[in-house]
């Protein structure tokens, strides 16, 4: 049973999984390479480059988790879950199989980021005092991906209505933010909301913090 669920989920997700895998491998390497002509004696520049690239990792983890989770449930939603509910297995088992299939697919990007980070740090000449944290970064990425996937999976597995409400809420916050900044009103609600969610001590905290491939 797991095999066919994995096969179908791969078929639906393979496009963005492959793109994400390539990106996950490339980003650490490109981030290090972009310092290119930087003087290895100037750690400050390297650090600021790492800082600017660091935002890509949580974004990629969040987006990939969202897409994988949504695609896992999309066809069930369009059929109003009838097909799955008439299959002869308990609902919790079916949900578990779907969740597991998504996790199996996400192994690819995780391995890619690990390899990319290792390759990037091993081939870079690091200035004195700075260290590479490829495994730390990869682990953080994997955990963030897991959290994002789990959260969006839980939301998507509900009715299409609750999933829609969730996405609508995000959309409204984003829209208000855009309007506010267009009217030059200082209303950082999106930022505060995001801050609030991420700073709240819990699994989402993994998205905050330092995503530095190379650090002191």
């Amino acid at each position: 049973m797991f095999r066919v669920i994995l096969q179908s989920q791969w078929k639906w997700s393979r496009l963005f999984i492959v793109v994400a895998t390539v990106a996950a491998f490339a980003v650490p390497i490109l981030s290090v390479q972009s310092t290119g002509g930087a003087d290895p004696a100037l750690p400050g520049e390297l650090l600021s480059t790492m800082q600017s690239w660091s935002v890509i990792y949580p974004t990629l983890a969040g987006a990939l988790g969202l897409l994988t989770a949504m695609r896992a449930w999309a066809s069930d939603h369009s059929g109003r879950h009838v097909y799955a509910l008439v299959l002869p297995l308990p609902r919790w088992r079916y949900v578990l199989l779907r969740f597991g299939a998504g996790l199996a697919l996400l192994a690819g990007p995780v391995i890619a980021v690990t390899l990319g980070a290792l390759f990037a740090t091993k081939t870079a000449t690091l200035p004195h005092g700075l260290h590479g944290y490829p495994l730390g970064l990869a682990l953080r990425f994997a955990l963030a991906l897991l959290v994002a996937y789990a959260v969006f999976f839980a939301v998507s597995s509900g009715t299409a209505r609750t999933a829609g409400m969730f996405i609508a809420a995000i959309g409204i916050v984003a829209a208000v933010q855009v309007l506010a900044s267009a009217a030059s009103i200082d209303l950082p609600i999106a930022q505060t909301a995001l801050r609030g969610i991420v700073d709240w001590p819990g699994p989402l905290a993994i998205f905050a913090g330092r995503w530095m491939l190379i650090d002191v």
């Binding site: 049973m1 179908s8 078929k11 369009s78 059929g79 009838v82 509910l85 299959l87 002869p88 308990p90």
Partner: protein, 297 residues
């Protein structure tokens, strides 16, 4: 197991629309049981309750000797379902859909599935979304039959499909029943099709079961009588008058519960029986429903 489906005192309500109250229904094992009723009468809801897709408010549903929804997984392993709306993922090809389905049913018969694939003339590489309405219906029937179920629950499986497709699907269904003796619970608006294949007929209206009889007994019992000298008061008759219409000196009655020996009733008294006209299933169904909604005094 004498009955494949037993429903006792079922009660269900969804909003203000309608309610199914105190529904009692028995589908004998091995029968082809036809379920008729106007749209919105509760047929699809009943089917959903039988499959455990909905939870009843009260009552007992027993399918293949197991309780629904308590033991529903055991029931679903032996039940094939063809829904009103084909509901598979649009990107899966025919082969992929078959492979997916087969993984969940240990009783899957691959050689039978392949034969049906040929008989139904389905292209295995076509994605589900590109199939025509008839092809989708045929695929759903293929999946349900290749599972080798003991019970088939069909919700308007051939409604809206062209006659060639309908024949192909019915032949495959009957072939399966002939081989495996499965029970079939089928709801449909195609009354003439049900008339051919069903040995039981149940009629539902507004959440209530109006009639449940073997097909031959239903048809034998519902007649149009041409009578003369009819009394104004219809009490004390051995049959039930569903409708009466005056045509000059004669009246036309539609009756149910008729038996051939009831002609004796007309031999005494002033009322004479001029003619007995047989009604087919569709006429009988329509008259029964009209009477249920506007009872004759």
């Amino acid at each position: 197991m004498s009955h494949a489906i037993t429903i006792d005192g079922l009660h269900y309500r969804a909003g203000k629309a309608f309610e199914i109250s105190d529904l009692t229904l028995r589908v004998p094992a091995g029968a082809i049981y036809g379920f008729l009723g106007p749209n919105g009468s509760g047929k699809t809801t009943t089917i959903r309750l039988v499959l455990g897709l909905l939870r009843p408010l009260a009552g007992r549903i027993c399918v293949l000797d197991a309780l629904v929804p308590n033991d529903v997984v055991r029931v679903l392993a032996r039940t094939g379902y063809v829904p009103e709306q084909p509901h598979l993922d649009h990107t899966l090809t025919v082969t992929e859909a078959m492979r997916f389905h087969a993984a969940f049913y240990p009783t899957w018969d691959q050689s039978w599935a392949e034969r049906l694939l040929q008989d139904f003339e389905l292209d295995p590489t076509q994605p589900f979304g590109k199939l025509s309405k008839g092809q989708k219906g045929k695929l759903m029937m293929l999946l349900a039959l290749a599972q080798r179920p003991e019970l088939l629950v069909l919700d308007e499986p051939t409604d809206g499909l062209d006659p060639v497709v309908r024949r192909d699907m019915l032949e495959a269904l009957l072939d399966y029943v002939a081989q495996h003796g499965a029970t079939v619970f089928v709801s449909s608006h195609l009354i003439h099709e049900l008339e051919r294949i069903c040995d039981w007929v149940a009629i539902m209206d507004r959440g209530n079961l109006v009639s449940e009889l073997p097909m031959d007994r239903f048809k034998a019992g519902i007649k149009r009588l041409k009578v003369a000298g009819a009394p104004a008061d219809l009490a004390g008759l051995p049959f039930k008058v569903l409708a009466r219409e005056r045509n000059g000196s004669t009246e036309s009655w539609v009756v149910s519960g008729w038996q051939p020996d009831m002609t004796a009733f007309f031999e005494r008294g002033e009322t004479t029986l001029r003619e007995i006209i047989d009604l087919d299933l569709e006429d009988g169904f329509v008259e029964l429903l009209r009477a249920a909604r506007r009872p004759v005094a």
